[in-house]
Symmetry: C2
Amino acid sequence: MLNHIKPINIVYSMTAVVSAHFSRFGKRSESVLELAAESALPIVRKSAKEIDLVIVSNSYSGEFNGISGINNLVATYLSMDDVPSMRVDNTSGSGGTAVLAAHSIIRAGEARTVLVVGVEKMSDRQTRDVTSIISSLLGERERATGASLPSLAALLATIYMRKYSATRESLAQVAVKNHRNALLNPYAHIHKAVSLDEVLSSRTIIEPLRLYEISPISDGAASLLLTSDETAGSFTDKPVYIRGTGFASDSAFITSRNELTSLESVRRAGAVALKRSGVNRPDFAELHDMATVLELVEAEALGLFKEGEAWKAVLSGGTDIGGEMPLNTSGGLNSKGHPIGASGVAQIGEVFLQLRNEAGQRQVKNAETGLALSMAGFGNSAAVTVLGV
Amino acid sequence: MLNHIKPINIVYSMTAVVSAHFSRFGKRSESVLELAAESALPIVRKSAKEIDLVIVSNSYSGEFNGISGINNLVATYLSMDDVPSMRVDNTSGSGGTAVLAAHSIIRAGEARTVLVVGVEKMSDRQTRDVTSIISSLLGERERATGASLPSLAALLATIYMRKYSATRESLAQVAVKNHRNALLNPYAHIHKAVSLDEVLSSRTIIEPLRLYEISPISDGAASLLLTSDETAGSFTDKPVYIRGTGFASDSAFITSRNELTSLESVRRAGAVALKRSGVNRPDFAELHDMATVLELVEAEALGLFKEGEAWKAVLSGGTDIGGEMPLNTSGGLNSKGHPIGASGVAQIGEVFLQLRNEAGQRQVKNAETGLALSMAGFGNSAAVTVLGV
């Protein structure tokens, strides 16, 4: 790396997150570069000289914004022309994947301090175009049938309810909870409480899923500063450590999978991350609730609830902020919004705030460990990060 | 990672390239996924079970091919559904950047063996569209003036000739040499010898640069298998080691740079990579000759020749395969072709072949160290890799 030439046999045992900042998510008039800067500037103003590398988590700057080389443009826009940069893309799982790359590059001694900027600017395109562009991650067979990610989620919802006798209300309750949580998050896209009735009577997107059950099309950015454990103390007296990571994939040919309800990549990535971290059960988790049903299926795949049981926990308040396993305290993709490249970075940002006791009204009490699941496609890939103080 | 769960305190001191394969570069009828597979299958057939991670180096699958999540699609296409993957993009510098990421991920112990697949399928679009899409990496100011990468190269050619009294013939001779080298490379796009007169009388692209002096629009793929030094011996008895890496950037606002002829990012990345590797002067180099003049300016920025002297070496045969510093034995971007995401991977593949004494008729005698420069944009970023046996 540029700023810190080190012999290649120096490696660090751990990396820490030492700062997290966000743009407000929503329909924003700013450009993709301006959004990136909005989230990164608080970090850059304080620590520009220490940053060895910028990793931009972004999937669709070409399709949505007509620009390429976004990593270099972001670095230039931040007046860090001479700091090397790369773009890491793994569609909806880009954020977790970018943090995994940053974590490795720091541990390998290639960089000591890395700025991760997740950003996506989606709202300039029509909903139909956005859905079509995002569905370009599917295999040809799936695309030929007209399948999209919402339609696959609808299929999953039907299977989940039938297989586990889950009530329709339990799925809708995920949206009620996440809308409630988002009201407490100043960066969230949707600031509106919704009742169970409102969710269930909102417009049908794809049967059985309703409008409030699918994440909106959002613009937004989130930035993290990561550094080696050795240097973390020079940035903050409250570093949050990456305790374990897991990364797994599944077939892009979704219809060739054995089971839709198992989300095999999530199960495997979660098992590895938890094993590596030595954490049996995190105190809370940020999940990839692109559709309500996914929060339930993912929570089970990660072992946070037994198979077929998560829907009961949601109904009984077990996944509320004050519950036994708070899920998506940030509002989740469902209500915080889902700017693709930003989502996974923002999830780890939320875990960071919670573990530093800085989550304000949505604070989980006495949280010491948290998990973030960044998922690509429909479980095509899963990056799980377990953090702790 | 998936296949090899390791405690996080295991790190490796070095990584090795143990295999390299290529698709033929050129105007190909195959899809981007088929090209990726063409280069990767020889590796996958032999070593699929050992691969922990796939990194796809690709910049424009959305713009050129209408697909996203290409990393997951490539892994699925290779029947490695359960192997995690990510896309690394840094425009024309993607290949070197992807190898840097793989190198770090291996050294950090997150993966032991990584398949890097570089691929781009460009020829489905018209030349005008390709130029426009690639120029989307430029800053708004440059785009507003109608600048493109070829026009910047033309400007650089004029400045270089004036500043160093370089002859027009010296630039053209780069094309003559690289066309000659490509004739010896079965994977090269252009298999046609050209004389100095032919280069100088070919169609003007942008004054003063001629058709044979600008890299063609190519489709193609290249794949490398990287592993830790500990495991390299189980793949081959002739591993090639990554001795040092350097990564640096420059402003995306090209017109705000002090000097066009210094390629500051190349200079800095080269200095770091050579220092880390302990190599004063590599035995040969693969450079980013998108335009002929760039080979000269880069060779000087890397210290392979003194400032303003490279053009003399080209004229006297010093950069020929049998010369004191062979440059672009593969044919370079100029004649091997320049499928954006594949180029940097293929460069390291050429260094690999040369260092194993497997480069056939274009073999550099007694080569023990080689350098590859993967450059993004117009020196917006540079990733330098120094390899040795």
